[in-house]
Symmetry: C2
Subunit: 782 residues, 2 copies
Amino acid sequence: MSERTFSVIGKRIPATDGPPKVTGTALYADDLRLPGMLYGKILRSPHPHARILRIDTSKAERLPGVMGVVTGKDAPARYGILPIGHDETAFCLDKVRYVGDEIAAVCAISEQIAEEALDLIEVEYEVLPAFLTPEEAMACEDPNLWIHADRKRNIEKEYHHHFGDVERGFREAIESGGAVRFDRFFQPRVTHAPMEPHACVAHWEHDGRVTLWTSTQTPHYVHRTLAEVLGIPMSSIRVIKPFVGGGFGGKSETFTHEIAACLLSKRTGRPVKFTFTREEVFYAHRGRPEQYMELKTGVTKDGRITAVEAKVIQDGGAYCSYGVVTILYAGALLAAIYDIPNIKYDGYRVLTNKPACGPMRGHGTVGIRFAFESQLDMLAEEIGMDPAELRLKNCLRPNTFTVNSLRVTSYGYDECLRRVIEASDWKNKRGKLPFGRGVGIGGSHYVSGAANSIIRSKMPHSNVSIKIDYDGGVTVYTGAAEIGQGTETIHAQIVAEELGVALDRVRVIAADTAITPVDLGSYSSRVTFMAGNAAREAARDIKRQLFRVAAELLGESPDRLVARDEKIFPQDEPQRAISYQEALMAAIEQGGTLIGKGAYTPPPEAQGGNFRGAGVGPGVAYSYSAQVAEVTVDPETGQFTVDKIWVAHDCGRAINVLNVEGQVEGSVWMGLGQAVAEEQIFEKGLTMNPGLLEYKTASAVDSPPIETIIVETIDPEGPFGAKEAGEGSLAATIPAVANAIYDAVGVRIRDLPITPEKILKALAEKRRRDKDANGHGEKPTA
Amino acid sequence: MSERTFSVIGKRIPATDGPPKVTGTALYADDLRLPGMLYGKILRSPHPHARILRIDTSKAERLPGVMGVVTGKDAPARYGILPIGHDETAFCLDKVRYVGDEIAAVCAISEQIAEEALDLIEVEYEVLPAFLTPEEAMACEDPNLWIHADRKRNIEKEYHHHFGDVERGFREAIESGGAVRFDRFFQPRVTHAPMEPHACVAHWEHDGRVTLWTSTQTPHYVHRTLAEVLGIPMSSIRVIKPFVGGGFGGKSETFTHEIAACLLSKRTGRPVKFTFTREEVFYAHRGRPEQYMELKTGVTKDGRITAVEAKVIQDGGAYCSYGVVTILYAGALLAAIYDIPNIKYDGYRVLTNKPACGPMRGHGTVGIRFAFESQLDMLAEEIGMDPAELRLKNCLRPNTFTVNSLRVTSYGYDECLRRVIEASDWKNKRGKLPFGRGVGIGGSHYVSGAANSIIRSKMPHSNVSIKIDYDGGVTVYTGAAEIGQGTETIHAQIVAEELGVALDRVRVIAADTAITPVDLGSYSSRVTFMAGNAAREAARDIKRQLFRVAAELLGESPDRLVARDEKIFPQDEPQRAISYQEALMAAIEQGGTLIGKGAYTPPPEAQGGNFRGAGVGPGVAYSYSAQVAEVTVDPETGQFTVDKIWVAHDCGRAINVLNVEGQVEGSVWMGLGQAVAEEQIFEKGLTMNPGLLEYKTASAVDSPPIETIIVETIDPEGPFGAKEAGEGSLAATIPAVANAIYDAVGVRIRDLPITPEKILKALAEKRRRDKDANGHGEKPTA
């Protein structure tokens, strides 16, 4: 099917879930009301690290209006999102591990009474020394104090990989007259801050089955974990995702309140609701870890990267979550954007007594891209090359296996670079704007889904089925979770295009584990690629059934038929068309309701790669993004503004142009928040800014104009050539801004976020250094 | 599969929807609350027949809190459940046709305000003469006065059929020394009186799609009709049936409040709810018509029925509804229980200015069975034969085509008769109990679904699909409507049995037109037979997929495999079994989520029959029921009690014994209500007893012990041999009681209900007649 012939794909289609959201009729988990519903609240630890000596809930249970109390002993099974990270229980059993850790839950006839009851639960603690930095944590040799007894010196996971020979690479760079730099960078802990706090309602019915409506990105993983923790078969559990007001990675696993709602509903026989306060969202966290980065990179005189040596230490907080993936991705994916012949990686995921970190938009890639793209600019300066040019010189080629065996299929990074260079008028601006103004460039990439799942099985990662009755309505059943990223609209477009029917015939039924087939969830930018492929396959299954009948009616071979504009006709003979409805009716008369199905399993060749670990392999395909930021810095105050961002994103194929733009701009905007403002602050383990007044995300008025350029590489495996669009652009924004600030005022900020204070301080240092007539940049230490 | 090997079929399985119903967690339509929901009320006609000259809703619209008003002009499309009976509009356009006919609807922020607003709607009428009996209606020659202009002399439909030669039959009876009788009988108008009044909530969303939650037996027909009346595609409409608190035929078509809710939701942009008052349920009605019956029947001296001539006039009320089927069934089905070689039928469905009648449990067969079974007893007496014996002499045989080409497959009426004769100790009781006590026998039958649908297509009448993911849960999607008859449990049993898995793995998702495949609905006792067959076929489709993989694993041929007890093994080699879960996982790894589908279309040979009409053919199979009632009558007061009822019902196969008993006992109990108490009373067109205090249904304390005997004839086409169980027993109860009263005190009541007053009056007449030394029974007039 050539691009020209698309009816629905590649258009600007408003999100099908938009109207209910903007008119207020959308029902989120907290909007659900069931008869007799109770309200739950969670008692949380006031200590970052302490042994629990005694819990007495008796006074709380006697408070009038309290209907049930549960503690750790009610659900002692260990669980975790990754097979190797089963370090959580619904409530703390022996120890609390961060301020906010869950100790007990209460349900009552009102939220107020439930809150009051929390105060009546008596907990006796033995306070333990708290580990608040990775350094402290890794220094501890006393097994009695380790946060998890089985995690030696509080190291959750370390990776040590070496591909090629970095020493040879560095030598080559030096010998060519190029440069080798060693730099340190820091990324603070940031969080997703979705509009909707976590919320759920559980109803444990008299037949022993429980239904959980929950704001989640991964209904299927919640389904699995609940079975594990509740000790009942998966078939007795139904997880339904209502409208979700944003996730960004923060709702990708099972949380205590979801288990607690089920337990309390079982105990009381009544539905139980939990809705987090904003403060609790910060305790649930699972955001980006503090990340300490050391990077050593060599380039030849003519700008070829010869070797990269990276060391990353992540402060992952008190539990594993997806942490072993975060630390894996930070190293493994370095190789999938630039052609790096020699690469060495040492990664440490460290446990500390802070809320657990997890996956966040751009998972694993964001900090390291800030570091790497900053260092690239420094290297460019050292060898006297335009940093955009340096990037163009090191592009991969399509259909490559990287040094660490990542499979890159389509590859549009070079085109992305060229497009933003052109659009931003880079060549006339970079180094040429007046002091205080500058442009910077950055690049990023992201997986289109992980090639391996956390489930130890060869089963497909996405399944989609379709039903069509004679009403002509097309029901698409998908387990994929719409969390605002537009997946339901994408499903509808893919199916409508493949069947050649109007978009408004299609109705997507999603994310209800009883009704919709398994899809692993909305994470790792996998949905359009994987569920999209499954949806297309399901539509093809239906189309085969329609064509079989249509072929009889037309006296044609089915493989000559085309479905388009609600008609089916022999290729190039639209005048002989029969209507979709006619073919449908005939097919139904023959065999009843049409049912089609499709599934998607990543190909084995994408599952390889020497950077495997944690059951989660590298990506099935990679998106690419290049950005140019233009900034204005006031050197007197350090105040700065990002004036404009140009972003080119290679999404393979833009199935929905409007949606790709929205995703890309959302990513840029979120990256910008991290670049210039966001940072979680702790004091003795206590989150000091657990609210949206204190934790500053960028608001709409902070957003510069964003010019989005879509680059289409038509991936050979993506549905209609599509790949990732929802995360990959985030990581490039931060170095683009950092590099632009350097271009504007000649200072380089290595610790995020970039603030006026840091700029002022750096300017003062720079003045001192300039006075001492030193060159800039640290010399390599090794 | 032999009966001995069943795991789930043929057991006593509690209804899966029982617990939520008895614990109050079941959500019926009136329990639904949506944000911003409004409340609707309907303005109804105070006149039985009048022209509408003017409707002014302006004052109502101005009442604070009123959000919308709609009248006939907002939805003028004509509709009706049968293609030939399109005589309804959402609201009256030109005329009102009964007291209670719908004129306008209002929605407001509270029910009270909506009620008040109704009083502010001004309607100017020109009152017309009202036709309150079929006699008056049929006598009218003035087309200007006809209730519907296109229905000449107010006759909705007449049938005149003659098969064989009844005159020859009557001659044969007389010549043999047998008897011919002519008798008149009367059945009053009775209604379903379900516990739950009609209720619905509509939500017309911003994308132009509307969802209607409604208490209905036929979501699919409502779906069709809404598209017609609202003028939008079916694919834009979603009809969802929540829990339904009884239908019994009274919720088998689209009602004004359902359309009004959609229209008002569209107008206001808010969800709108309607819940009928009990009085309104009586206006909605669609129950059994008054029925005037003349029967002439001949039997030979040795008890063989030679001919039947029947004339039936039904007072159908103001609209057609299913009326043409009711009047068809009254004649056509006479031939499907006894072997009647010559039969003549004249049926008249007449329009009157009363609420429209429609289908009610035992649809079309109840009145005529009362008449025929009463007359059989009279004939038995005339030829000096035991009435049970007379019945046994006239049984059909299995696999017969009747004189009017009805196809009878399995036939257990003779066995039913023998079983109740034996169980009730009939031979020692009939004619032998002391004066004032007696036993009576009666027989009945019913279709297991209509062989033709109201939809002009060869498409299947039922479709079922199944999804199984690796959680092992079995989701069954069915359009069939659970209305308390146990269909969801039956679906689950059939699928569990076929797949050989535990019943609690199965979850039935039903009656949501967006999610579940088309099923025509719960009427004509079609669901177990048709949806059951489709469910079994869907399970077989899944089983084929599992067996294909299991065969590979076992190194066996798939056709040697058996699924049972959660295992799959080669026939007779259970020790070689692999588990269901293992086969499932392997199948999913090969092809993803398992999806199966099944459909059921009645065979062409069942769709024939010379008694066709109205697009609804005769039954696909027939159930049979025989009953003996024992009564005690106080001859001084006429007061009587039904002391016990023995009922034997041929349901083909009892898939769920508990459920069959419940259905049979419910039918008997409902028949009893009609036998001894129920009657709608009108005065000048006004329903005089529109409430459950005035309209007397039998209560639990009125129910005699009922001894239920299940007869299994294993129908060749029913799923596992099953056929009808939910309606057929009703009709036999009434003549059994009437015949028992005759046996007790020698008087015969020909007008239902049988009341003490009628008995007293008949006893007085009998004494007078006995004094005059006359025999009993009327002599034939022709």
